[in-house]
Symmetry: C2
Subunit: 259 residues, 2 copies
């Protein structure tokens, strides 16, 4: 299995604190040693840092912890391989362009007997994971339903994607993070939680390493920041645990749609 | 205008030496201060490091110079903006997936009156540069001609792309680097050169900063490494200067096709 981390915020915010906790699960407090990746959106642009080695040993992960990149949407993943070998092409998050937006996706879980369902041609996987193939299939279904021009109502698109995710959940475990750079969606199969931090801000203490942050000193009163993770990253705050089949859509830190 | 750098090698090779020269042109010996990017292929996978700030000041560029990533294909670009504002989404290289491969592209030059020609729908630009739009148009034309399944003969695809590049050259300056992760193509409009290094290896001295390398100590006798750049990066070696309209296709450091 793997660990997911994502963020949606209404001001460019760095994710160094949460990422520092996540990285520990890549070889220190967790067994996820088969690569890691993190995508930062900055405006419509995005950049992804990846390594096919464990995050706790990665030079690139050290850069991310020491160089705070401010972003409104972040998607991150650390991997413990099940389907597909350990390689860069199998390392999440995966990105594809649709409607002039970069869509970024990461998956926690494992699927079975999926080859027959996931027939793709417009979007094809580069690696050989069930995860990337499922992502390609989702985008292909979206294009088949909505066409090559972005519809006025992206909410209809996300409702459709939630239905697809529900279909995929029948094939195994499918905890998913998906973003178009503006919206951030999560879909829960069995392990997904989130927290929305806003004023009054307090202190937070990581579970996986001995780090405490006082968000009151790092934020302004108008900041709204939602963090999503497979398991809570802090032990002195209340995380919302999602139920199987539940999903949430966030924009600028705020809940926009759910099902 | 901008500066291009690319590499094709028959063994995973780091590009630290050449990149160190290129980075100087991003604010020290050259005026290209509007961002930079570099894509490394490792197997079928790829990762791109980018910044919308000048390379000579970038933390991420410092990482690339201190952490040798070994790769068989590299595409890099430093930007002096003409079309499109300074932002991450306008920073080269650009990547799209086709036929289960990541295609990576960078452009030096400027085009005019291109909007009518570059009609796209399957691949859409995220930013607002002429460069990214031209890339989307090339891939769209390739799909229209060859379909959604990779043809057995990729050489026919590259010959077709060379024809498209020749059409684009009529709209202005179009020096291009393109790779599918296995092959590396360059197309020259007015500024492009390359060098193929193989045994017996010698010393090379950068033009832009006081660095000398002895490739004999860094390589094995079977290594073949081709480096492409807008302008020569070393002053004690003989670079091949391409003529307007000329193009070359390399694989594993060796010339495969030209026109």
């Amino acid at each position: 299995m793997c660990e997911l981390l994502a963020m949606s915020a209404n001001v460019p915010t760095d994710i160094v604190f949460s990422f520092t906790g996540l990285v520990q699960r890549g070889g220190v407090t967790g067994p996820h040693v088969d690569g890691w990746g993190i995508t930062f959106y900055e405006g419509k642009g995005s950049r992804t840092f990846k390594d096919a080695i464990q995050s706790s040993q990665s030079h690139v992960a050290k850069l991310i912890q020491s160089y705070p990149i401010k972003s409104e949407v972040v998607v991150s993943h650390i991997r413990q391989a099940n389907r597909g070998c350990v390689s860069l092409e199998n390392t999440h998050p995966f990105t594809r362009e649709l409607w002039g937006r970069y869509w970024t996706y990461a998956h926690n879980g494992q699927l079975s007997d999926y080859q027959q369902k996931f027939v793709v041609s417009r979007y094809q996987p580069v690696g050989d994971t069930d995860s990337e193939l499922a992502f390609c299939w989702i985008l292909e279904q979206v294009v088949m339903k909505f066409g090559e021009t972005e519809p006025g109502d992206l909410m209809a698109v996300y409702r459709f994607i939630a239905k697809l995710a529900e279909e995929i959940r029948e094939l195994g475990i499918f905890n998913m993070i998906l973003s178009d750079g503006d919206h951030l969606m999560n879909f829960c199969s069995n392990n997904l939680c989130y927290i929305t931090r806003k004023a009054p801000f307090g202190k937070a203490k990581l579970i996986d390493t001995d780090v405490v942050i006082d968000f009151d000193k790092e934020t302004t009163p108008n900041d709204v920041v939602t963090v999503i993770a497979t398991r809570p990253l802090t032990d002195n705050e209340e995380w919302h645990i999602l139920k199987p089949g539940e999903w949430k859509l966030f924009r600028q830190g705020c809940l926009l749609l759910e099902g």
